[in-house]
């Protein structure tokens, strides 16, 4: 147990001591700021429309944009946490220091999940609060629900960010290349949902409902795509599927790292 705690502390030191971590955090901040600029522009349009046309002003909630980027960035961070070690050969130092490979993976997973919860929670909540301040009391669409009503949305986006980091770590461990892992991650997250539509009826609906990109909304019990259909999965069902993604990625990664020579 103490060995695992030491490994976790070491992984935390690793994450903090390279600049790429801070660069990725800066991307999340930049996108969050850009989201607020979009919100501000939406408010500007709304203020200059006649009452009849105000209903046509649709501004995607800033926390949705920030949440999606936070998920992508944490997925990349998760992948890099191991692919950078394979690229430099430092993985051998890591494995001589922590020879029990599942322990190394668990330590990385613990640090990345925590980073995901922190980065997701802070960025999504800040985006939400700032955009609400920008919109103020204007009855703009998507901005009228009471604050407490939005808490499940914020929690769902945050949880998905942590899972993204673990899926990135899993893919990175399996693929062992940064480019390959990031491509696989983007494919799983964004490209695959475009293809599930092509499958026959009932399959398509079921597969659509378990795609990572819709899970946050299902987890929060929100309609899909804002104003779209009710989701197929209940919030507990979505939580199970989300955890299954993390578990599957980490299990496959543990098998891969255990079986292969470093």
């Amino acid at each position: 147990m103490t060995a695992l705690a030491d490994a976790v502390a070491a992984e935390w030191l690793k994450l903090r001591s390279v600049r790429s971590t801070y660069h990725l955090v800066a991307v999340i901040v930049a996108v969050a700021v850009a989201g607020e600029v979009v919100t501000w522009y939406g408010v500007h349009l709304w203020d200059h429309q006649g009452a009849a046309r105000r209903a046509t002003v649709l501004v995607t909630p800033a926390e949705q944009l920030t949440g999606q980027i936070a998920q992508l960035i944490l997925g990349v961070l998760g992948a890099l946490a191991i692919t950078a070690e394979y690229a430099t050969g430092m993985i051998r130092t890591s494995l001589t220091a922590v020879p029990r490979r599942p322990a190394l993976l668990a330590a990385k997973g613990a640090v990345l999940a925590t980073a995901g919860l922190a980065a997701g929670g802070v960025s999504v909540t800040a985006s939400f609060l700032v955009s609400r301040m920008i919109v103020g009391r204007r009855p703009m669409r998507f901005y009228t629900a009471p604050l407490t009503h939005e808490i499940p949305v914020l929690l769902a986006l945050t949880a998905t960010t942590a899972v993204a980091a673990l899926v990135g770590l899993g893919l990175g461990t399996i693929v062992r290349s940064s480019a390959g892992a990031i491509t696989a991650l983007a494919g799983l997250w964004y490209v695959l949902p475009a293809f599930t539509h092509l499958l026959p009826g009932s399959w398509s609906g079921w597969l659509d409902s378990v795609m990572l990109v819709v899970l946050p909304q299902e987890l929060a019990g929100q309609p899909l795509g804002y104003g779209g259909p009710r989701p197929l999965l209940s919030p507990p069902g979505a939580a199970v599927v989300l955890l299954a993604y993390a578990a599957a990625a980490l299990t496959a990664a543990a098998v891969a790292i255990e079986r292969r020579d470093a």
């Binding site: 030191l13 001591s17 390279v18 430099t88 051998r92 130092t93 020579d261």
Partner: protein, 236 residues
């Protein structure tokens, strides 16, 4: 103490190590010699639990590497000095390694001083010369004050001062009762540093003896080595 017993390692159709057995005893520097591709690095990776043996076993202090509770406190290894993240500072690099095995921050300062890297401890590794990287790798190996040391080509890239420093350090470590295994291509260097030598060719043990014995009769270690490994060189 390192014990390798009947170790065989096969990669696909290639036999990298072929029923290799030897011991590396405490209190002396053991040189591990052989042509390129003779299985030295593979053997070191198996000893360190990085590659799993096809057959046979390697043990350190009586146990498989993977079963060591705090491996860095028992074994210090340097396989490839360039296998570091260039963006990290030397001190950060040593700090995370120390942390994995519950080694205190005082040791980081101590090995930085020992390796002559105190002045550059805060600098990013990416700017280091190969000689500085070797020093950093040796510093990392010494973090846990281990009784067994394994170095793959430790003088590679070092200048004359660095070579002499490593030579002195290795002999000092052996003099303190540690088991030291070093691989090298430099026979003249081995003749100065090692007391025992293991010579391998095509994954097999060709000689396990002392430098004194090999050079008896006035032959240089290099002459004897070239004679022994003549049939084992794959690329000429």
């Amino acid at each position: 103490m390192i014990e390798v017993q009947n170790l065989t390692k096969r990669y696909g159709g290639t036999l990298a190590v072929d029923r290799l057995s030897f011991q590396v005893r405490p209190g002396q520097v053991t040189g591990f010699l052989g042509p390129n591709g003779s299985g030295k690095s593979t053997t070191m990776r198996v000893i360190l639990g990085l590659d799993s043996p096809t057959a046979g076993a390697a043990r350190v202090n009586g146990r498989r590497y993977r079963d060591l509770e705090h491996p860095l406190r028992e074994v210090g290894a340097l396989l490839d000095a360039t296998a570091v993240h260039p963006g990290r500072s030397a001190a950060s690099h040593l700090r995370w390694i120390a942390r994995t095995n519950g080694i205190g921050a005082g040791r980081v300062t101590a090995v930085l001083r020992l390796a002559g890297l105190t002045a550059v401890a805060g600098q990013r590794i990416g700017g280091f010369s190969l000689g500085m990287l070797q020093r950093l790798g040796i510093a990392a190996a010494l973090l846990g004050d281990p009784a067994v040391l394994i170095f793959d080509e430790p003088v590679n890239g070092l200048d004359a001062h660095g070579v002499r420093w490593v030579r002195g350090l290795l002999r000092e470590m052996a003099g303190q009762g540690r088991a030291v295994l070093i691989s090298s291509h430099l026979m003249s260097e081995m003749q100065l540093t090692a007391e025992r030598v293991l010579i391998v060719g095509r994954g097999r043990l060709l000689a396990d003896t002392t430098v004194a014995e090999l050079t008896a009769g006035g032959a240089s270690l290099e002459d004897t080595y070239l004679e022994l490994t003549e049939g084992s060189v794959e690329y000429q």
